[in-house]
């Protein structure tokens, strides 16, 4: 995952070709299954971009958590760590944000909302703290430890919504609705919440941090070539990887807060349709570039929004869109691997 900052159109071309390949394969599959590919893809397009409402309330709404989590994944990746546990950190953040929202509901919104974000950042970071310690102390692969903690987080959410955080009537496995003061403002006439601006701001901040600051340079050096960074630059690569992993967990937690305070207004067991995993694809497609992640996040948001419309209008099961996503990722990884002399090995 090198970071070419020179003007180079090739990766963008690869991504576009990969997307085209995915769509062509989907069309072929639909035709083979007896569906009308033109009608299905047309419905998909309308569902994602067909109206201002669809673009904001379906595409950008879905893109928001993908962008935020994708940014976190990329940050860890640049620092030399693979965080596969964003799904769990997302849930940890969602639990923390929901809890904070109930504690802070009496405060005015400009105060309550940032505080729920802080709680979620802490929750996400806490969830990745164990893998960080295991990695630093004992060299346990974070790929394994973060992945396994996803299951623990999902179980914890189930416990919360059926126990201490269940709604007062004790019927539904979900929390009570969070107070109005903790809810994010919406773009008028749509369901898009202010969390999208947070995602954009985070992308800009990360782009600046990585490209323009000494800390960002050290992080990239530590991630790209840990031994060299240690020997030549006297950078503690392991520490950078740990910090990047912590930050990545915190950011995934923030995504959980945005989802609770902007979309669901309550804690649920199945709050995420796998954002933590799709976001990895989002980050890989953008090759870890913060602003590219915004674009690829919107692309994946559009694919999943379009998938719903495809099922509504053309009767094609929405899960078929995963074919496109998978082809895009495989094609990009393949192209990257071919473009290198050595096989692509991400992370430490």
């Amino acid at each position: 995952m090198s970071a070419p900052s020179t003007f180079d159109l090739r990766p963008l071309t690869t991504s576009a070709l990969a997307l085209a390949a995915g769509l062509v394969l989907l069309a072929a599959g639909l035709a083979a299954a007896g569906h009308d590919p033109a009608a299905a893809l047309g419905a998909m397009w309308r569902g994602a971009f067909g109206s201002w409402y669809a673009f904001t309330s379906a595409t950008l709404l879905r893109a928001t958590p993908l962008i935020v989590i994708g940014l976190g994944f990329a940050l860890a990746l640049r620092g030399g760590a693979l965080n596969i546990g964003a799904e769990g950190q997302f849930y940890a953040g969602a639990i923390a944000a929901t809890w904070a929202a109930f504690q802070l509901g009496a405060l005015p919104a400009p105060l309550a909302i940032p505080l729920t974000w802080l709680a979620a950042l802490a929750g996400g970071a806490l969830w990745v703290l164990v893998p960080v310690v295991l990695k630093r102390r004992f060299g346990v692969l974070e790929v394994i430890s973060t992945l396994l903690l996803n299951f623990v987080a999902e179980a914890l959410v189930s416990l919360m919504v059926q126990g201490p955080m269940q709604e007062p009537a004790g019927i539904y496995p979900q929390s009570a609705p969070i107070p109005a003061a903790a809810r994010l403002p919406l773009l008028p006439g749509t369901r898009l919440h202010a969390g999208f601006l947070v995602a954009l701001a985070l992308a800009a901040a990360m782009a600046f941090l990585l490209a323009r600051t000494v800390w960002g340079f050290r992080l990239r050096a530590a991630g790209a070539a840990p031994r060299a960074a240690e020997l030549i630059g006297r950078v503690d690569a392991g520490r950078f990887a740990g910090v990047a992993l912590l930050a990545s967990g915190a950011i995934a937690g923030l995504a959980g807060a945005l989802e609770v305070s902007g979309v669901s207004y309550a804690l649920y067991q199945n709050l995420s349709p796998g954002y933590g995993f799709t976001a990895i694809a989002v980050a890989l497609l953008a090759r870890g570039h913060p602003l590219g992640i915004v674009a690829s996040g919107i692309l994946f948001g559009a694919l999943e929004a379009g998938a719903g419309a495809m099922q509504r209008e053309a009767g094609v099961p929405s899960v078929t869109v995963y074919v496109v996503e998978a082809v895009v990722i495989l094609a990009v990884l393949l192209a990257d691997a071919r473009g290198r002399s050595t096989p692509a090995v991400a992370g430490a």
């Binding site: 180079d8 067909g50 673009f55 379906a58 919107i298 692309l299």
Partner: protein, 321 residues
């Protein structure tokens, strides 16, 4: 860092162009009915039944129909809102979990009727269909208590929603009648579509001694049936649909909801302008809830047990409101 900056405006421009090019879309005429399911319609049970009902609405009422699957709370609200905005006359939210989202959406769309299958209460143009499936699960429990050799029975539930819990409690209570002191074990999977988890849970129950199983886990239950097929000497009672075909020699009976019948009836009322929002509750007396015995497994139990099942069924039906 320059490439992405070019990509984003390009995408936005493309989106704007598309918005102009394909404004609207879809038909707006005729009687239109939509179904939102919380999972795949390939579950051979809850969602498949509703989808079959939607097909009957199309064929019998000449309606334009549409279906979409929505798993997360956010997607569910979005799906309800989209259909309502497109002017659908009836939108079925297929499950308890749609109640809150439908109430939020319905206030903005007074001309659409929202039917929450297995819902809870009436709020304006939101009305529930209540299925007292537990009445049939009680009959399954009666048969299971007579059938178990080990004295242990098992239940695999999806998410611990009230209708699921009621089904479990009725099943356990039924078994305790025919087998006093029966040990009732249960597992909730916390989802309705992980068949692998369903299979694991069933095997765990079987290891704990359960030899008769029942479920209410939709698609995840396909794994429960697999576990029963893999373990000689075990039996299973289906749920939501007649599931005898999933294990023809091992399914004793199924607690069935005739979803197509209920869905068609409500859609017809709306079409004919007779619909008033109310709690429509179906039990054994209505014929929408049924207890279907698998003819091939009937011999597993003596006739005296089946006679008891019929007596209890009739008394439940007679006591219905």
């Amino acid at each position: 860092m320059r490439r992405p900056r070019r990509l984003l405006p390009a995408l936005l421009a493309a989106a704007a162009g598309a918005a102009v090019a394909c404004g609207g879309g879809g038909q707006r005429e005729g009687f239109r009915v939509a179904l939102v399911t919380p999972g795949s319609i390939a579950d051979a049970a809850w969602n498949a039944g509703a989808y079959a009902g939607l097909g009957q609405v199309r064929d019998s009422l000449g309606a334009v129909v549409s279906h979409v699957e929505a798993r997360t709370p956010a997607e569910q609200e979005e799906a309800l809102r989209t259909y309502a905005a497109e002017g659908y006359a009836v939108v079925f939210g297929h499950g308890f979990e749609f109640q809150g989202a439908a109430e939020r959406v319905a206030a903005d769309h007074p001309n659409t009727v929202f039917i929450i299958t297995s819902g809870e209460r009436v709020r304006g143009n939101v009305a529930p269909l209540v299925f007292r499936l537990h009445e049939a699960s009680r009959l399954a429990g009666l048969a299971a208590g007579a059938l178990t050799r080990t004295g242990v029975i098992g239940f695999v539930g999806g998410i611990e929603l009230p209708p699921i819990r009621e089904a479990y409690e009725a099943w356990a209570a039924g078994a305790a009648v025919t087998r006093p002191g029966v040990e009732s074990r249960f597992t909730y999977l916390n989802n309705f579509d992980d068949a692998a988890a369903g299979r694991e849970a069933a095997h765990a129950l079987i290891r704990q001694g359960a030899d008769v199983l029942h479920h209410n886990a939709d698609a995840a239950a396909l794994g429960v049936f697999q576990a029963v097929r893999e373990t000689p000497g075990t039996w299973i009672f289906g749920a939501n649909a007649d599931q005898a075909a999933l294990a023809p020699e091992r399914v004793v009976a199924s607690a069935v909801i005739d979803l197509p019948r209920a869905i068609l009836a409500v859609a017809r009322e709306v079409k004919e302008g007779r619909f008033t929002p109310r709690v429509e509750s179906f039990g054994l007396a209505s014929g929408v809830i049924r207890f279907e015995v698998n003819p091939r497994a009937r011999a597993a139990l003596p006739d005296s047990v089946w006679a008891l099942v019929v007596r209890v069924r009739d008394s439940i039906a007679a006591a219905a409101p």
